[in-house]
Amino acid sequence: MFETLSHLALQQYWWIIISLLGAFLVFLMFVQGGQTLINTIGKSDIEKTMLINTLGRKWEFTFTTLVTFGGAFFASFPLFYSTSFGGAYWVWMIILFAFVIQAIAYEFRTRQNNVFGPKTYELFLFINGFIGTIFIGTAVATFFTGSPFSVNELNQSRWETPFHGLEAALNLHNLSLGLTVFFLARVLGLLYFMNSIDDESIFTRARKHLLYNAVPFVVFFLTFTIWLMLRDGFAVNPNTEEVFMEPFKYFNNLLTMPIVTILFLGGVVLVLWGIISSLITTNTSGIWFSGTGTILTVFSLLLLAGFNNTAFYPSTHGDMQSSLTIMNASSSHFTLTAMSYVSLLVPFVLGYIWHAWKSINNTKITKDEMSSDDIHIY
């Protein structure tokens, strides 16, 4: 069935999958956001243990989504992988270290003889939450603002600054997305705490901090979005594949793709509703509204970056023609076809994740459970 699709249709299909994976990844970064709040929300050791355990049952989903996002991006748009990873070396290395220390922190934190003490592992979790969110957000912003690289006729790439990606942090527009993701992750983390833990004082504290984090989130989000709507974008001429600057490109993309606009606006409303409803009522389902909203918003933002003849990884170093588009950066027709068959497994994967998630989260975490002998405690 996929064989008959055109190369372009497959490229678009895969850009949708990449965007969806990216959207789920940002939603699942509630784990990272939560990790930066353990000491703020948890006042006693048992409270901290509850917070860490509720996140600890989910961290692998975020981690696996990140790994799969990387793998799927590699398989479908290998030129992005080679150009960005090989070029923005330091950015990816820093993100990498932030995730390496997370992967052992949960398991090792409370084990006897863990050499560095529980505080060190809690610090690892904090660093992961702080760096993971800000750096990934900043890196994704370069999909709109561009990076200094060039690609030669053999498709070998070169980064044109010695900072190897760190220069992206000097761009305020990039940073505004980094901080948006950081505060969004914290908002989602708080909503998740409120939903998954049955404890009065944690609930009250989380709600208080929800407001403190929602305000900067909204400010940074608006800054990023308004700026994005106003800036010139990297457009591609579909016939010549020539890249040129187009005023209000991303705003135009919204106008040209009304479905994306609806997804985007619907997503924003859901995120806000999740926050507001949790602030004004005592219901605990905010995470589902804000989570779904996050997925829709990020999904539509990534579609803006790659669809409607837009270069999704623009080159700013004089050589705009090196910019990557979903056409010139993709895998072959054959590989995309093969991978598309594999993608049919995704609904099945989502199904069993949902089933397993529900079977573990059907009872909320309580203080009693933390001293249970029968269950694995981090």
Partner: protein, 530 residues
């Protein structure tokens, strides 16, 4: 030509990748095998309802969890490093190599991470049957992820199912099944995963023997010994069988690796296999035209190498010098000819790129060449050799010897791996027999041997990868891409810094992991399971 290459960058990039891969492989094999053993134990628990088996399950499951975390932590590094350090590689073969990585994520990692959560947090929350299913799926998921990354590795050693597209300057997939079911992929998967089973069996058996030595948890230990030694014997037999077929595969796809593994300089018919040997000083690396076979001491098995490689005692096994200098009688093309042909293919690509914009006629002509199967088999096949070209014939001859991997490292790693593999099988059999005879507790020497065989299992496992990865140097993609043209263009100082950061992190993690593990073993299994 070669002088203009920045060797520091290549060496640091290789060092960083080797460091990560070897460190990752300290943890993976235990996960591969222990997952199944825990699943067996839990199956018995569910069938019998005997809480003693739950205790067994939970103890080994806890060690599984500690070990699993660090495997996850290091696995992501490898995935990133393909891009960060080997970006030209990522483009040149990304169309083929990316797919297994993505499938690994979609098919295997989610399975592992979802069901491991049920396995650890589902006790009492989900039904016994669902829990048991989750334990099995965790084990299967771990081995599935091994499948895809090993398929990718096998493809690098024996590239198949693809064609070079000069327009995009990369290799493109033309057959998914040829990649998945190539003989190399099947051998690599079976040999590597069964080696993990053997290591895990030795781990469980060694720790159980230690409990017996300390006269603690006697019943627990004996049951664990039975599970692990039976599993170990079956896995060892499969390991030896797939090792044998791997050797035959290497003989045809990577003859230089086989020659290095045996330190065979001059080819022979009825070639003997060296059982034990000590290499002398004079044929140490790097190999030059003057290098000669030099053993201080060796014990040989007559005809065995010819038989192992080609199932025929009279078969000719080419040596390192036959391969480099060529051997007309046996139809072996010398490396300098391969280098010239590879260079010609590289020049054709350059000419095509030049003509692409300005000269459509010439472009069409060269483009047709890249489609011509005969030209592909005679020229493009040696594409990577072209990097070693030099217009000066003398220098070219010297460059040809740079295509020989480290002989001593390949030789020793291979022989250590094989020798230890035999020891493992013998030990499993002895321990199982003594346990059935109910004499195991009194045989302190055997018990201590089992304990000290745990580190040997890790040495054998690492040696296996050294054979596979050092033996194929300098190729990243066999015959098509040497390490020097795969590397990302970043300054070597950056790679040096990240190398040391990784080294420090790994040492710290390893210390923490070993101490936590030892402590948990010391605490031992608890009543009621946890």
């Amino acid at each position: 030509m070669l002088e203009s290459i920045d060797l520091t960058l290549i060496n640091w990039s290789r060092a960083q990748f080797a460091l990560t891969a070897m460190f990752h492989w300290l943890f993976v094999p235990l996960t591969l095998g222990l997952g199944f053993m825990v699943a067996f134990m839990e199956t018995i628990y569910v069938k019998t309802g005997d809480p003693e088996w739950k205790k067994l399950t939970k103890f080994w499951m806890k060690l599984f969890g500690i070990n699993f975390a660090i495997g996850v932590a290091t696995g992501i590094i490898l995935e990133f490093e393909f891009g960060t350090n080997w970006s030209n590689y990522s483009w040149f073969v990304g169309d083929i190599f990316g797919a297994p990585l993505a499938i690994e994520g979609i098919m295997a990692f989610f399975m592992e991470s979802t069901f491991i959560a049920v396995m650890f947090f589902g006790w009492g929350k989900v039904s016994k049957k669902f829990h048991l299913t989750a334990t099995w799926l965790t084990a299967i998921g771990a081995n599935l992820s091994a499948l895809w990354i090993l398929v990718a590795n096998a493809w690098m050693q024996n590239p198949k199912g693809m064609q070079f597209n000069p327009d995009t300057a990369r290799n493109e997939m033309i057959s998914f099944w040829n990649i998945l079911f190539s003989e190399s992929a099947v051998n690599k998967f079976l040999h590597t995963t069964t080696s993990g089973f053997v290591l895990a069996a030795l781990f469980v058996m060694g720790i159980s023997c230690w409990f017996l030595l300390k006269k603690r948890h006697i019943l627990f230990a004996k049951r664990s010994i039975i599970i692990s030694s039976v599993f170990g014997i079956i896995a060892s037999l499969m390991l030896i069988g797939t090792g044998d077929s791997s050797a035959r595969d290497v003989a045809t796809t990577q003859p230089m690796k086989l020659a290095a593994m045996e330190a065979l300089y001059t080819g022979k018919t009825q070639a003997p296999l060296i059982a034990i040997g000590l290499i002398g000083d004079s044929n140490d690396d790097p190999v030059t035209p003057e290098s000669e076979e030099d053993f201080l001491f060796k014990i040989e098995i007559p005809n065995m190498l010819s038989y192992m490689a080609f199932l025929n005692v009279d078969a000719f096994v080419p040596g390192i010098k036959d391969l480099v200098l060529g051997n007309e009688a046996h139809g072996i093309m010398p490396y300098n000819e391969k280098i010239k042909r590879g260079y010609e293919a590289q020049q054709a690509l350059k000419a095509l790129k030049k003509a692409q914009k300005s000269d459509p006629e010439t472009y069409k002509l060269i483009r047709a060449q890249f489609e011509d199967q005969q030209w592909i088999n005679n020229y493009f096949k040696y594409f990577g050799y072209g990097n070693y070209y030099d217009p000066d014939p003398e220098q070219l001859e010297k460059n040809a010897f740079k295509l020989v991997p480290s002989v001593s490292l390949s030789f020793y790693a291979f022989h250590i791996m094989v020798g230890l593999g035999m020891h493992f099988l013998a030990l499993f059999i002895v321990v199982l027999w003594l346990t059935f005879k109910n004499k195991i507790e009194t045989k302190r020497f055997i018990l201590w041997t089992a304990v000290w065989t745990i580190p040997l299992a890790y040495i054998a496992s690492q040696s296996g990868w050294i054979v596979a990865e050092v033996g194929r140097q300098p190729w990243v993609i066999q015959d098509l891409m040497p390490a020097m043209s795969a590397v990302s263009q970043i300054d070597s100082s950056s790679v040096m810094i990240t190398f040391w950061l990784f080294a420090i992190t790994f040492v710290a993690l390893a210390i923490a992991e070993v101490r936590i593990m030892v402590k948990q073993i010391n605490i031992g299994p608890k009543e009621g399971g946890d």
